[in-house]
């Protein structure tokens, strides 16, 4: 996460340039007075920068320390919660750096943290600090960034763009997740950047960033907790270049920051690891409470779930985000960086899941293998489901007419039919997993079925059935053979009929089996069979 580190380094430098002189005095009292806020902010920022921080382990922490070491410790200690996010190690410091930069721009701290990466060019960044929303407001007032600048930066974070700086800066991205997280973070930065001087929005952004943080954290955690301090430092310059249109002050300060960060990195890491995590969590919790139900849900979901559940949980949060966004009534959709990042991340996950499941559907629905494209395939699926439902209706009506007394004891022998023929509803067995591909009907069963056909007696039938059952129903030898035997005995009175019926059943099913073998089961065929 060189980008992160770079941002961190860039931001402080930028902050130092302009507002450092101005803001520093304010920072101190703010920090001290609002230790909790700071912690929360840092947490928020940290969570956002989780991925960034981890990999970057950049000098940013050290830089942060250089700026407000005392403040950090104070705030962190004040919070000292039990949460320990490994990822958060450097987050606090990083976030503080980013936060300070952001505060300058009037974004809320979390936003600042996220945006920090992409905001290197934003000059006038404060030296780390932003924890206080009041401070942010002040910073916003004094911010010299016009909306135009942000607009530019926002454009930079257009959907495809956010990833670019990362890719450039990161070079070797540890995992896609990291990239996604970075993109998410950059998005968030953009989000916050877009609302300079908006007092109300920082809060919202904070909240939003919180959930984003959570998700990013989750993603980051999954991606890996490796801290690439070395890489980060190495990438610092790259990130600077890759990051937004660098402004001279920012860039000038970058090296300085990095140096400082490098010195204090170790210290920060040690100090901030636990407190950061706890602080972050606290902040997250707070943020969550502040947010509406949607956000809360979205936050809790990513935070609480992991792995499969996590991925699933992230979907609803993502959707919640979309809803929240829409509800805000923003004129332009997702022009905030953070939102874009979040959307990107979520979209990717969703797309993967959807495509994987569509593949299963393709196997299941006949005639879908040749079809490409969602629309046509969905159309086929719709038609298939409708035809199946209609068939159920039709068959139930037919059965009603055939059996005046709803007796199906006679039909017990059908189980043999089912057992022997159409062994290829294999897809059903695989469905619960949804991980295995659906194998087509395999020939051996068909061959076995055909061997049964020539037999003319129930006993002869019994033999092949018994022989078949073990081979066909590997795991269900006894039940199937028992069923076959019982059904055979049931039908023993109708040997001839049984033979005829079974034979017909076999013949009728054989062609269908053969068709199944080919992998296609035209719906019309089923109706035409009788």
């Amino acid at each position: 996460m060189d980008v992160v580190g770079k941002d961190a380094s860039v931001e402080p430098s930028n902050a130092n340039d302009d507002s450092l002189n101005y803001h520093t005095p304010n920072i101190a009292p703010e920090w001290q007075v609002n230790g909790n806020n700071l912690t929360n902010t840092s947490i928020g920022m940290t969570s956002v920068c989780n991925s960034m921080v981890e990999s970057s382990a950049c000098s940013s922490p050290s830089m942060v320390d250089s700026f407000c070491p005392t403040v950090w410790d104070h705030s962190i200690n004040g919070q000292s919660l039990g949460y320990c996010d490994v990822n958060v190690q450097n987050d606090v410091s990083t976030s503080s750096n980013l936060g300070s930069v952001r505060a300058d721009l009037g974004w809320n701290p979390s936003a600042m943290m996220r945006g920090g990466m992409f905001m290197p060019p934003v000059s006038g960044m404060l030296p780390n600090f932003p924890a206080d929303s009041g401070f942010i407001e002040r910073a916003a007032r004094f911010s010299c960034f016009s909306g135009g600048n942000f607009g530019e930066m926002m454009n930079l974070f257009a959907v495809p763009d956010p990833l670019n700086p990362f890719s450039q800066g990161l070079g070797v991205v540890h995992s896609q997740r990291h990239e996604m997280n970075m993109a998410e973070l950059s998005k968030e930065g953009g989000l916050f950047m877009g609302k300079p001087g908006a007092e109300g929005s920082p809060f919202k952004n904070e909240k939003r960033s919180e959930s984003l943080h959570d998700e990013a954290k989750q993603g980051v955690g999954i991606a890996g907790n490796d801290s690439d301090e070395a890489e980060c430092s190495g990438r610092g310059p790259q990130e600077e270049v890759a990051c937004m249109t660098g402004e001279s002050p920012g860039k000038g300060l970058g090296p300085k920051k990095r140096k400082r960060g490098g010195v204090q990195n170790a210290q920060n890491d040690e100090n901030n690891e636990t407190p950061t995590q706890s602080a972050e969590t606290t902040k997250d919790t707070r943020e969550m409470k502040q947010k509406g139900d949607h956000n809360t849900t979205s936050n809790s979901n990513p935070g609480s779930k992991n792995g499969k559940q996590g991925s699933r949980g992230s979907d609803p949060p993502k959707e919640d985000y979309i809803h929240v966004r829409a509800r805000r009534g923003q004129a332009t959709n997702s022009h905030s960086l953070a939102e874009r990042i979040n959307d990107l991340l979520m979209m990717q996950v969703r797309r993967e899941k959807i495509s994987e499941r569509m593949k299963f559907l393709q196997d299941l629905v006949p005639g879908c293998s040749k079809v490409t494209g969602k629309a046509v395939m969905l159309d086929e699926i719709i038609n298939y489901v409708q035809s199946l439902q209609r068939q159920v209706e039709f068959l139930s009506m037919k059965l009603a007419t055939v059996n005046p007394r709803l007796e199906f004891n006679v039909e017990g022998f059908l189980t043999k039919d089912m057992l022997q023929s159409r062994g290829g509803m294999s897809s059903l067995g695989l469905l619960p997993d949804m991980t295995m591909p659906f194998p087509p009907i395999h020939p051996p069963q068909l061959g076995l079925i055909q061997t049964c056909i020539p037999s003319n007696s129930a006993e002869a039938l019994r033999r092949p059935i018994n022989i078949q059952s073990p081979s066909v129903c590997a795991g269900f030898k006894e039940p199937s053979s028992q069923v076959s035997i019982s059904s055979i005995s049931e039908v023993s009175n109708w040997e001839d009929e049984l033979h005829n019926v079974v034979h017909m059943g076999f013949t009728s099913s054989a062609p269908s089996s053969s068709q199944d073998l080919s992998g296609s089961l035209p719906p019309g065929h089923m109706k035409a069979e009788p």
Binding site: G429, M434, F476, V483
Partner: protein
């Protein structure tokens, strides 16, 4: 893998068939004489409940089927369903929890006022419409979101295939038997 899958599918078929017969027995125990429509309804309901119970409430659609039956069925139908499921049915109405998501989605759609006439946008719209149509086909569609939709569709299609398969075999066998009897 194929063997196990086929055997498991056969097991599902068997399970479905057994449960279905159980339900039908209850129906015939209740009413000796039923009209054809009643019979058809009995057959269908038993089959639906049986196939839903093979999923043992792990999927949304199966739960929806059972809920619908529990809220609207009465008399023999209810007893048959309970027998198939092996448990009592609750009579409470389905809660309107699903409304939230749908409402949110509508709001989201409304918020995006932009009209996009590009080909991609049109394609997306088509896909979205079809998804909606597909969603409505699946029982319990109100509570499905996009990802669940595909998973539920998969499961539902497979279950429908089992159901249709068994019913078809039964119908065929019954019909041929009938013909045999007539001929003989």
């Amino acid at each position: 893998m194929q063997n196990s899958s086929s055997s498991s599918s056969l097991m599902v078929k068997q399970e479905f068939f057994t449960k279905w017969k159980k339900g039908l027995k209850i129906y015939s125990a209740f009413n000796k004489e039923m009209t054809i429509m009643e019979r058809k309804r009995a057959i269908k309901l038993s089959a639906d409940v049986a196939i839903a119970s093979t999923r043992s409430a792990t999927t949304q659609w199966s739960r929806a089927v059972v809920a619908e039956v529990s809220s609207s069925a009465a008399g023999a139908a209810r007893i048959a369903a309970e027998e198939i499921l092996g448990r009592k049915l609750s009579t409470e109405r389905r809660k309107a929890q699903a409304g939230k998501k749908i409402v949110r989605r509508r709001r989201k759609a409304a918020a995006r006022g932009a009209v996009r006439s590009s080909a991609a946008a049109v394609a997306k719209k088509v896909v979205r419409n079809r998804r909606r149509v597909l969603k409505r086909l699946i029982p319990g569609w109100k509570k499905l979101d996009e990802i669940c939709l595909i998973k539920e569709t998969l499961d539902y299609i497979a279950s429908l295939q089992v159901q249709v398969d068994v019913m078809r075999h039964l119908a065929n066998a019954g019909e041929t038997l009938h013909h045999q009897q007539i001929l003989l």
